[in-house]
């Protein structure tokens, strides 16, 4: 079959194979860095919102947090990319930074809502018990609520990162440059397509690589969950 012939051709030709590997490496790198940014940002925003619930002084920060999550979750990521790359960070040489930041900021909004939901889903009685013993809200949060919240949050965050991985495929709309992190797996597919006039073959290979990363993430998540659920086993 033509498809298998072409797939073989791609794997056998160093130039084409390298495009694929380069794209794979870049997609992975962008996803991981953006995920890291998203985690930190999301966690911060979630905590601010939670603590602002009984602390009036934090209210302005919570409002900023709300604007952030609403706007980012309410607009398409393609628009966010355009605005970041061609307006806000429209400085020559900053494209890679702008792209990674966009994905990180986007991810952060979703992660923050996941974390907030996870924290709020911990039974109210846990906080009450902690406070009744004289522990401060902060201590109760860190020693009792958070550890339990993480268990609730891990699956949702895992899903968010899987979504993030696939979202990075749109980076070519703001321009993808070989040799930089913007040359992602999807663009590699396009580039290989140019050379061998076959879109399906590189697409199948790329899909396999994406799948591989998703599988890897899913495994990691499962492992992490298993360890945390040691205290639940009945």
């Amino acid at each position: 079959m033509n498809l298998f012939k072409d797939i073989y051709k791609i794997l056998a030709t160093p130039e084409l194979r390298n495009y694929l590997l380069e794209g794979f490496k870049n997609t992975l790198a962008v996803t991981l860095i953006a995920a890291g940014i998203g985690l930190v940002l999301g966690f911060t925003v979630a905590i601010v919102k939670i603590f602002a619930m009984d602390n009036r002084k934090l209210k302005p920060f919570a409002v900023i947090g709300n604007i952030y999550t609403t706007v980012i979750r309410g607009t398409p990521i393609t628009l966010q990319l355009f605005i970041m790359v061609f307006a806000i960070l429209a400085i020559p040489g900053f494209k890679v930074t702008a792209v990674i930041l966009t994905f990180g900021i986007n991810s952060g909004a979703y992660v923050s809502e996941n974390i907030r939901a996870g924290i709020l889903s911990v039974d109210k009685g846990q906080m009450e018990a902690g406070r009744s013993l004289g522990l401060s809200k902060y201590k109760t949060m860190t020693k009792i609520i958070m550890p339990q919240a993480i268990k609730n949050v891990i699956p949702a965050i895992g899903n968010e990162f899987i979504a993030l991985l696939k979202e990075t495929a749109i980076v070519s709309i703001v321009g993808s440059t070989v040799g930089t992190l913007t040359f992602d797996l999807n663009q590699a597919t396009s580039t290989i397509n140019k050379t061998i006039a076959n879109y399906l073959a590189p697409a199948v290979l790329a899909a396999g690589l994406y799948l591989g990363i998703v599988y890897g993430i899913t495994l990691l998540i499962k492992k992490f969950e298993k360890r945390l659920r040691a205290s639940d086993r009945n």
Partner: protein, 275 residues
């Protein structure tokens, strides 16, 4: 009641299928390449659209245009399941020929470079054929050169940035759409390379952008050569009836009128607003 509804659905489905099968031909295009295909008032229009509509008339069938990503046109038409014709200013390459049939060439376009006017002095040069243009070699730049993936400009540039090429080592920025590629000038790209007509359309109304044809510098007194691109329409292999009809229409259009302008050029002029 349920039986009647089911019967109705089947009937409507049959109607749809049969009417689709016999009456409508689907043509894949990428509507970001003025004046050959572009969007105006929400509809897909252009030279390729006009050509294909004539083919439809000849065959007595309706033509339906679908806007897809340029990358997938060759594959889809090659497979032949979703579309049998692709009209998108496509150029013939050996790899593409292996998958689809091509009509005759109906247009030859020169490759142009779009640049910021403040670089004009360094770029503009009087060529041996008496026209102004830009040498490929002048495009060596710190920033990158932007192209739309899969266009002839992309292919030409790929050769030149490779080892031994005129622009060895220059960065290439790939874009899926030309408009965005142009926004990148001054940012991460210094130039956009694309065919003449889209280039002229893209710089329209932008005070800071100009475009000029690209030339290969003639060595030792040889004339400077333009780089050009040739368009054809692709058809699924084995559809001789479609291919014949398309070639017939193209033949008719390629007849020159009393002013030496052929039908295709007339369409081009029409879509450029030059009539």
């Amino acid at each position: 009641m349920k039986k009647i509804v089911n019967l109705l659905i089947v009937l409507i489905g049959l109607l749809g299928v049969t009417s689709c099968k016999s009456e409508t031909i689907i043509v894949y295009t990428e509507a970001g390449f003025a004046p050959f295909e572009y969007v105006s008032n929400g509809k897909i229009v252009g030279v390729d659209i006009d050509i294909m509509n004539k083919v439809g008339e000849k065959l007595g069938k309706k033509i339906k245009f679908e806007n897809v990503s340029f990358d997938v046109i060759i594959d889809a038409v090659g497979e032949g399941k979703l579309a049998n014709i692709g009209a998108a200013g496509i150029s013939i390459t050996p790899e593409r020929l292996a998958k689809v049939d091509f009509s005759k060439v109906y247009y030859q376009a020169n490759l142009y470079v779009i640049y910021d006017v403040k670089n004009e002095n360094a770029l503009k040069h009087l060529m041996s054929d008496g026209n102004y243009g830009v040498y490929w070699s002048s495009l060596a730049t710190e920033k990158g050169i932007a192209v739309q993936t899969g266009t002839t400009a992309d292919f030409f540039l790929a050769d030149e940035v490779a080892e031994g090429g005129l622009l060895e080592g220059t960065k290439v920025n790939f874009f899926s759409s030309l408009d965005t590629a142009v926004s990148d000038i001054g940012l991460n790209s210094d130039f956009v390379i694309i065919d003449e007509l889209p280039a002229k359309k893209l710089v329209e109304g932008k005070a800071n952008l100009r475009c000029l044809p690209l030339y290969y510098q003639g060595e030792n007194g040889e004339p400077d050569e333009l780089s050009f691109d040739e368009y054809a329409i692709c058809v699924t292999k084995g559809h001789q009836d479609l291919l014949a009809a398309i070639n017939e229409v193209l033949d008719e259009l390629l007849q020159e009128d009393e002013n030496g302008v052929n039908g295709i050029q007339a369409l081009v002029n029409k879509h450029l607003g030059l009539n």
